[in-house]
Amino acid sequence: MTDTPAAAPHRRWDDHVLGRSDQRYGFGFEEILKAAVRPGTPSLYVMGLGFDPRATVAFETAAPLLPPGSRVLAIVPKATSGGASRESAFQKSNEARAREIAASCSLELEIIQPNPEAKDTRFHGVWLVRKLREQREWLTPHVVVDISSLPSAIFFALIRAWLVERTTDLQLQVVAAESHHLDDLILDSGTLAPQFLPGFNKHGSLQELQPGTRIWLPVLGKGRLAQMEAIWTAFTPHDICPVVPFPAPDPRRGDSLVAEYGEFLFETLNVDAQKFIYADGSNPFDLYKVLMTISDRYKRALRPLGQPVIVPSTHGSKLLSLGVLLGAFEADLSVVNAGAPVSTLSDGADDESIRALASESQQTCLWLAGEPYDKSHPDAARTEGHADAEHGSD
């Protein structure tokens, strides 16, 4: 783990494009989004329509920038009971708001209900990709995936499918409204058996990995101990490198996560404190680069013992999950998941404060494929230069 590559190979997102509503990394959210829009050519906006109050926050900002006639596919991540629960009320309110926004911006909104047969929501993504592929929207030149209210199993599959299959003529952007305060107010109930995510499974099953050297990179998030225990029990890694968000909007976020998991990580797993990985909680490309570097180093260091199995798992924020997606996509890693079958809003906050937190979310836009990465494009060099200057390199 100490040797450094003489010359790091060029990575797909070494020079990345990222915009945020506070312009922290140089570009604004709307600025980046607008740059990919082709006037007169409808875009495709894919969003989640669950109970998460952030569901329509980024959409509200993005909708006026999309050409009239653009399609909006709003995916309901999980069938609601239709009852009077607080979550149902939020979901209905999100749906009404999405319809309102779409109508006011002349966008065509289609609500996609989840596969009625499915119990394990981790397979919604593969089901949805196969369904979307049959629709004309699949070939839309400008696609925006809003992950604010989309479960990772869905956006991992969608983004991967577009990155793999639409290698030309695709401007792919990902947007998210992020607030770790709200993350903490969404509570998971139950734990699914650990499994690789569709599209991110090069190994078959966790059990089949047992003969190799196993490295686990859990991205820590609040209140996910049962999920982490389940993964550890199934995976039994030889080495563990927990990922904590640092820097993060709350500078103590990393500390509080280490304190929360201290007993599990240090007493049960005997994790070496030097193995902790720090990744910018606001910039998915940072975690992407860390994953690329660490997987490269592990592979080289352990080459005499055979190919190690490096498996990240996501328990933290949407942006960090996106960082895992990008790293796993390029480094060809399997991603394990032990998500919850049910999520609810915490009783610790009332509706008003939850909505207030949602409206204060930081909005982020990542440009993942298209013009900035097209070497023949005259603007490509300028964009790269800017990204480098702002972010530096690994």
Partner: protein
């Protein structure tokens, strides 16, 4: 805390990964007491709450682990003897059973998550079961070959079918065998790999799936048909091994898939050794809570037994099983701790004994306070009692703890007596000292100990010692390991800091148990979909019991730790029509079922108490949760509540009933340990 390795923290799953010797070393052979030789030639259903050791039992009987015992019987003497007793090993220590363990958790239920048409989903499911079962048998047969004296090195393994069975020949053909009478292990593995590739592409590839590729799959289980009649051959010679399939985690399947496998048993299509392990959570709430009711609801166990099936509950399902189960728990704890104690603590004392080694050192301030309270009793009828118990400090050989506990118990007995006499308008005569001694039984003393812990929380430890440790396991191996890991950490810390003895103090044990208890509580929502509902029910039940114990510490000594519903009320809860009119009934049914299925509540039917007495079902709080409400661990009592009252707990969030019934006679405890 220590960073020394703690064997209690090593989960059974970790032993699956090639550490066969560690698994065999730690396996408590007593688990095999519930198994008989005939079980390997018939369908067996292991059904219990999580953590009772279903997987471990099937694992030790599977080839990979069995061969470890065969190779080194002297290292696992008790285990080898038990395996011989149940016919898994013959008299010369050679295996007679080739067992293949197949876990049904992964991929099977997901087939229904990706939008597969019903018929295709069923065909693919059956083929995947076949592929996993037969591949596991090939692996087992190969491992077994290394343990058989009359088999040469690296033999050709094949499965042979009897002559004159064209139906089985057709099965072999479908699996691409070149031979009408047998299929080789490499042919099986090649065929299984093809199925795995199809399933992997279906579940994990984002590209379109070709449903036509599965259209030629027959809609029947091939593996079970084959294994009903096939025998394992090495180099063409019949091995004589009994073939047993262990299907683990059947509860992970979707109901339709589970029915397809259970249907084989119910239709008697399976008659040879097939073991199925599943959690009781597969039963729906009505079945789970109503199986004892004698209603028209399915009484599964009886139905299954009637069809030449054995249903085994590995938990301590009956009072008769308690002592055997406790023996097994002791054995697990002893084995887990032995090596680490030897390596790190430099002590020859066993872990369980270490828990009893130290006594709480300072009782003086509590004793002074309790004696003062006794002295303040202004009732001449109890003067002899007070004099007698106060003199203990000077004249008896009791320990400090025993003296203080007896003094506190005397206060409770006096209060109970005063309450009783007040109710009876009876002025009373002075009570004899002999009467006090008679009443100061172990249960009253335990109640007093719990009361002291409540009144002096910083001074009096309640939950400590090996008795409490074993009780806190709640007849569940996984829970024993959980509490044991926390307590053993304290022992290892003592060893690492070069204390005079690694034995944990009662205060340390009490604090550790409280922390374990709290953690189990906090984990409930993360483990159960409707965990918060379960917490609501448990909170109300816990508070109800705590209030009862505080108000009447000796009436139900050592105190209650559960509640009961009458059979009539339970039937009302289970019947959808009558349940609908009970506010909170739906939530209660789901919470009760979830809590029972996951061992947060233990459901037991009370023994009938007289011909006219109404039958009741008792729901005891898991003992590891009892410390949250300062409830006793021993000999659990209970109080009967009406359905409407218990259902109202789900709405109100607490047991706030004011309609307290008159005290019932002392209920028999159901944990007679």
């Amino acid at each position: 805390m220590t960073s020394l390795p703690n064997s209690f923290r090593i989960r059974a799953a970790e032993f699956n990964r090639g550490r066969t010797s560690a698994f065999c070393n730690n396996f408590a052979a007593e688990v095999l007491d519930s198994i008989q030789s005939r079980h390997f030639d018939m369908p067996v259903v292991l059904r219990s709450v999580p953590g009772t050791g279903k997987t471990s039992l099937m694992q030790i009987l599977s080839a990979h682990w069995l061969v470890e015992v065969v190779r080194r019987p002297n290292d696992y003497e008790a285990l080898a003897q038990h395996l011989t007793d149940i016919g898994v090993l013959d008299t010369v220590g050679s295996p007679t059973v080739s067992g293949a363990l197949v876990n049904l958790e992964r991929d099977f239920s997901s087939i229904l998550d990706i939008g597969a048409p019903d018929e295709a989903a069923e065909r693919i499911f059956k083929r995947l079961v076949d592929a996993r079962v037969l591949a596991a048998h090939v692996e087992s047969a190969r491992v077994m070959a290394t343990a058989l004296n009359d088999v040469g090195p690296d033999p050709e393994v094949s499965f042979a079918i009897p002559e004159g069975r064209p139906d089985l020949t057709a099965v072999l053909r479908e699996m691409h065998s070149d031979d009408d009478a047998r299929i080789t292990s490499s042919e099986v593995l090649e065929w299984a790999l093809g199925i795995e590739t199809v399933v992997r592409s279906l579940l994990f590839d984002l590209s379109p799936f070709d449903w036509d590729a599965t259209a030629n799959y027959t809609n029947d289980f091939l593996s079970f048909r084959l294994l009903e009649s096939a025998s394992i051959h090495y180099d063409g010679v019949d091995s004589g091994l009994r073939v047993v399939t262990f299907l683990d985690d059947l509860h992970r399947l979707r109901p339709t898939q589970r029915r397809q496998i259970m249907g084989l048993i119910e239709s008697r299509a399976l008659t040879r050794g097939v073991w199925i392990a599943e959690r009781v959570e597969v039963l729906n709430p009505e079945q789970l809570l109503g199986e004892d009711l004698g209603t028209s609801l399915p009484a599964r166990a009886n139905a299954e037994r009637g069809r030449d099936v054995e249903v085994i509950d590995l938990g301590a399902g009956s009072p008769a099983a308690y002592s055997a189960y406790e023996r097994m728990l002791r054995s697990v704890a002893r084995k887990r701790a032995a090596t680490d104690l030897h390596n790190f603590a430099d002590t020859s004392t066993e872990f369980l004994q270490l828990l009893d080694e130290q006594e709480h050192p300072d009782w003086s301030s509590v004793e002074a306070d309790v004696l003062k309270r006794l002295a303040e009793v202004d009732d001449a009828r109890f003067d002899d009692w007070i004099r007698h118990i106060s003199a203990d400090a000077l004249v008896t050989g009791k320990s400090d703890r025993e003296r203080v506990t007896d003094a506190r118990a005397t206060i409770s007995l006096i209060e109970a007596e005063q309450r009783k006499q007040q109710a009876e308008l009876f002025l009373g005569m002075p009570l004899a000292v002999e009467e006090l001694d008679r009443r100061l039984g172990s249960t009253v003393r335990e109640a007093a100990q719990v009361a002291l812990g409540r009144e002096y929380p910083k001074q009096v430890p309640v939950y400590y010692g090996q008795r409490d440790f074993l009780l806190l396991a709640n007849h569940n191996v996984s829970q024993l390991l959980r509490v044991g890991a926390d307590l053993f950490d304290v022992v290892l810390t003592g060893a690492a800091t070069a204390r005079k003895s690694p034995a944990p103090t009662p205060r340390e044990q009490h604090r550790t148990v409280k922390a374990s208890s709290d953690r189990l509580w906090r984990e409930i929502p993360a483990r159960l979909e409707e965990g918060r509902n379960v917490q609501t029910l448990l909170t109300a039940a816990g508070k109800f019991a705590a209030r009862m114990n505080e108000d009447r510490p000796t009436s139900y000594a050592p105190g209650i730790s559960g509640f009961a519903l009458t059979m009539r009320d339970l039937k009302q809860l289970i019947d959808p029509a009558t349940r609908a009119v009970v506010p909170g009934g739906e939530e209660l049914l789901r919470a009760l079922a979830d809590a029972v299925a996951n061992d947060y509540l233990t459901k037991l039917e009370d023994a009938p108490r007289g011909a006219r007495a109404e039958r009741r079902v008792v729901f005891y709080i898991n003992r590891l949760l009892c410390p949250i409400w300062n409830l006793p661990l021993g000999k659990g009592g209970y109080r009967t509540r009406s359905l409407h009252e218990v259902a109202s707990w789900m709405k109100n969030g607490s047991a706030s009933s004011t309609t307290d019934e008159p005290d019932e006679p002392l209920d028999e405890g159901l944990f007679n340990d």
